[in-house]
């Protein structure tokens, strides 16, 4: 991009040179052909995740191709037929084995076999959303957002031999660092728009300057501390330092933007709503808002944790989710689980709807966002990792079709395909064996 921008170094900005703020890039400033190209390229990745697997016969549409009939579970996506691609047959080979939940969840976005441990020696792999986040880290205030509904780690409720960390989140910034999910909408709001009473610009900048000085101080303090520690402990302080650097970058970014404009008219949410559906809606609204204000371009949303035993009385299912998922082929239990699956898909369709109605340049946010929707395993009863229920939407992907891939095609092939479409041209990801031709640009 050759548009001249005044690139200010951090110190200059923080000395309060308020008049020299960088302007947001306007497509109108570019020659139109290039603008069209840039506008058309997807730049966002959103993952929407449902736990405990699915009733696959209720999920799978009828015949592959363009003439498929929507299944009951996927019916909520019917209005967006031309924007979605349903994919059957992808496999998480690395997740096969005992402890279906503990393995499948960390494998979903990483394509890696996690190390079975309940202690400190966690080992997974970088997740596809974080590859994107790290690639575009300089462009947005928040590299990524990890949102959820169920609070992490209820005691004794994680898969045996697999630390709760594995099922608390989908996102790993590297093989040993899992990124926690945020479940409180107020906290999300504050992450996006700050927590001061005021959105007054000069006060905001003054506050950012003070925060920078705090970060300088703690960084130096941590460096001093690190010198006196053994290797293991230094690793922990390194995590701390990396976090400081990440926030410094974010503060720098924040000083160049004024997201307050988007928050006008919004009230800060009081906290976590009691009602599940209200909570989900709020989190989805905030995610869309974050993308609209370009505060982030990468998001993951877990509508529940693996092993979730939430009940859904509001749709006529008072039994616990995880219990139903091990239905042992009882038709009544299967029908109820399918209702839960569909209910989750309804919420995800709401996300697609919001994104398709929110403008972005000449089109909508959905045009430039790749959306990945699915579960970490397919058949819930057997924790079948070899046939995952996946839907991709938006991002300029060819839509309106139901694809069945060859058996054992790794899920990582889809990850790699998404990375390529986002302009990240690496050879491999996770356990990939290639890209998916049906979706390639």
């Amino acid at each position: 991009m050759n548009i001249p921008r005044k690139l200010l170094d951090r110190r200059t900005v923080l000395r309060g040179v308020g008049t020299a703020m960088a302007l947001p890039l306007l497509e109108a400033m570019l020659p139109s052909a290039r603008a069209a190209d840039i506008a058309a390229r997807p730049k966002r990745l959103q993952t929407l995740y449902s736990p405990n697997g699915m009733i696959m016969p209720s999920w799978r549409p009828t015949q592959p191709g363009r003439d498929f009939v929507f299944s009951p579970t996927l019916q909520p996506f019917a209005p967006f037929r031309e924007r979605i691609t349903i994919i059957s047959g992808l496999a998480s080979n690395q997740a096969v084995g005992p402890a279906g939940h503990g393995r499948s969840c960390p494998s979903f976005l990483t394509g890696v076999r996690p190390r079975p441990t309940e202690g400190s020696d966690l080992q997974c792999g970088v997740s596809v959303d974080q590859v994107v986040a790290q690639h575009h880290a300089e462009d947005t205030q928040l590299a990524s957002m990890e949102l959820g509904i169920d609070p992490p780690s209820l005691l004794g409720s994680c898969d045996i031999n697999y630390s709760c960390t594995y099922t608390n989140t989908l996102s790993w910034s590297n093989a040993t660092t899992a990124l926690p999910v945020t479940v409180n909408p107020r906290v999300v709001f504050e992450q996006l728009f700050g927590d001061d009473d005021t959105l007054d610009e000069s006060a905001r900048l003054a506050q950012l300057k003070r925060r920078m000085s705090v970060l300088d101080y703690v960084r130096e303090d941590a460096n001093r501390l690190s010198g006196r520690l053994g290797t293991n402990d230094r690793h922990k302080v390194d995590q701390y330092l990396e976090s400081v650097r990440d926030i410094e970058r974010r503060v720098h970014k924040a000083s160049q933007q004024d997201p307050g404009a988007y928050a006008a008219g919004l009230t800060r949410p009081a906290g976590i709503p009691e009602d599940f559906d209200e909570h989900v809606h709020l989190m989805i609204d905030l995610q869309v808002l974050a993308m609209q204000a370009d505060l982030t371009r990468v998001g993951t949303f877990m509508i529940g944790r693996e092993l979730s035993n939430r009940t859904y009385a509001q749709i006529g299912v008072p039994e616990a989710h995880h219990m139903l998922s091990h239905h042992d082929n009882d038709p009544q239990k299967m029908a109820k689980l399918a209702l839960i699956n569909r209910h989750h898909m309804e919420h995800f369709a709401y996300y697609v709807e919001r994104m398709s109605h929110t403008p972005d340049g000449a089109g909508s946010l959905l045009d430039t966002t790749m959306v990945l929707i699915g579960c970490a395993f397919g058949d819930s009863n057997t924790h079948d990792n070899l046939d995952l229920p996946i839907v991709v939407a938006g991002g300029g992907l060819p839509g309106g079709q139901f694809i069945v891939v060859p058996k054992l095609t790794p899920m990582s092939n889809l990850h790699l395909t998404l990375l390529h479409r986002l302009g990240i041209s690496q050879d491999r990801f996770g356990e990939s064996s290639g890209v998916m031709g049906a979706l390639a640009a």
Binding site: G156, L179, S213, K236, A313, D328
Partner: protein
Amino acid sequence: MREGIFGLRNSAGSTRVSQPRLSRGRRIAATCFGLVATSALAADIPTASAPAPHGPLAPAQLLDQYCSRCHNDERLSGNLTLSILKPDDPANGHNLEEWEKILRMLRRGEMPPHNRPQPTPEARSGFTDWLAASLDAHARAHPDPGRATLRRLNRSEYANSVRDLLALDVDVSSELPADDSGYGFDNIADVLTVSPTLLDRYLSVAHKLSQLAVGLGSGKPYVTTWMVPKDGSIKNQGIPSWDERASDDLPLDSRGGASFSYYASQDGVYEISGWLNANTNNEVDRLPENRVSLRVRLPAGPHHVGMTFRRLLELDESAQTLRNDTNIVPLPLEAPAKLPLEFIVDGGIVGETAVPSYYMSPRFSQTNWPRDVLQINVEGPFDAKGPGDTPSRRRIFICRPRNAAAEEPCARRILSTLARRAWRHPVTDADIAPLLGVYSAARDGTNFDQGIETALEALLVSPDFLFLREQNRPGSLPGSVHPLSDLELAARLSLFLWSSLPDDELLDLAAKGRLHDTAALEKQVDRMLADGRAGALTDNFAGQWLYLRNLDHQRPDVFLFPEFNTRLRAAMKQETELFFASVVRENRSVLDFIDADYTYLNEPLAQHYGIEGVKGPAFRRVSLDPATGRGGLLGEASILTVTSYATQTSVVKRGKWILENLFAAAPPPPPPNVPALKSSLNGKPLDGREQLELHRADPACASCHLKIDPLGFALEGYDAIGARRSQENGHPIDVTAVLPDGTRFDGLAGLRGILLARKEQFTEAFTQRLLTYALGRGLEAPDMPAVRAIARSAVHDDYRIRTIILGIVRSDPFTLRRTPET
């Protein structure tokens, strides 16, 4: 992690690794009863102080006779082969993990398996006594305090530390992300990592707290909302209001409403407003017609703010309708009466208004509930008059600069005092210099208070505050062991008992080097346990050991258990918390956890238990008659509820909970592809017991379930929310059970007997859990001698809990540290 040195796996055709057996001569020598340290054996035991074997069989002989048939290189049962073990291993500190496991299995009677030849009781105890003594002797001679990485404060510890540092009691734990758990607790050093999200939240929280504490802030009004906990959101089931006092902070003659903690950021005017229920078909409607408000002037600082109705003995406050059909809503017969609604601040009535006892609208729909408050808002400050005089400002500003020249020295004093407490050690000028730099930079162009506030923010996110610093002795060799300094010990002690910072008394004692003195340490422990801050032990240790935190997330089916409401849930939790706290406070026996003759009840909980004579919402201690079927943890509804599903009990969950939390004997994970319980066979529906019997018919399942299920069966007399029951689905409940060794028992009483028969094992298991929590790391084989020593001291002191706490505080793992290898 040390690699388990198990025997070589034997693939077909490979040669078997053979280990020389004891020579014939030695065997003869060993079998002579009473011939302890014979010269042949003595040659194998280098340390003169190692205990000699006793009992009818020598260790090697016992293992050979009863164990080696399965635990050898070919069969490798339980992944253990004895071929790599030698009798002098414990004395030499070799293969500790395997030997501890052997000790555990033999002491519990789990090995040899019941269908195999058993050693005589004397041979068994002779062997286990020798083994335990050897392991203990080795630990005494070679203390190994284990190793954990740098420990970060978890969010509860962070919140408490800030509260004690700044005298600021604001709940911030909901603002920080929940911490990951390990080994059943969320204070495990290895698991507490730092991520950008976490640090970002820390910064945000530090900013908010510093502003409040120093008394800065724009002075612009903002709204704080409090939702009164209520039932009735799902299909309008549940009772939304009660004719009883709702909180200890409300007057005695009040009913309903709520009170909550509010921190006024400045001296000023605050508007307290509330919404009453709307009497419509959606109970939680908030209509403007049902809003009441009052403006009051409040000083800056902490307050209790609430709204409640004054209880009128004569007037029936409910709307008089009779609802007998969902399609027909009869209208009230009389005009609404006037109810006195009071605004309560800090225990006093600051205002009053009259509200109608029902609200008529086109959507009127109401059964006989008294009118109540749904939500309370506080908005302010209006007409703000400055930060005022608050406990936190007094704590921070120990001096006030009179002129510009006095500012820097005063800032130095303030920051040194705060840093000493926050970093848990005395500080020098050099230590403070960078922090003073933050103060100066922020002071520039603003004022003294702003400078202090930013420096305080930096303090609250500094690594020295967030992490527990434990240092190597200068010149110490990697791997060497040294005692913690007094200051380091004080830091660990206050995290253990208070989940917070050391207070000034503890810090002063430690800075003078007087904490290592046994009498002084004991005195401090007693003082700390008597202090209100020891409530953290109940909140955090008991809250996790007993899974009480899960109670908030439990959602029993509203149709099957309509009586499970907000009130009952809170009461269940409080019973267990008060009970645990009483055991600590009164230094009672830990066996009370298994069987006690008292508990704490209020009226809702007593009704739930079918116990008469308990009136009112306040909790009080109640003596228990055995006929009540209560007493001890397993009779408490909280535990019975968190070990159940939403619609039914779970024998397996309850059995597993007992094994894991009362015996530190968690069953191994289920094998892959474990089939679900079959709910019917050949068309005939099966009840819970029958389902499990069928499940266990498979020997692969039986081996564990024979241990787990009996414990759960005995509790089947309590339903999924802990109420007593005698039948399920029309069938009488069968609470008989059989242990793998054939012992029969039934019901909770029988179960208690079984548990009490293993009271030493329970005491050790409890010690293990508490030690894990105290150390912030999982326990390993080298810790077990300390566990045994602590448990032994408790056994000799009537199993008292403080003996265990003191034992932990004085133990090697708690007081020593190993210099890291690199």
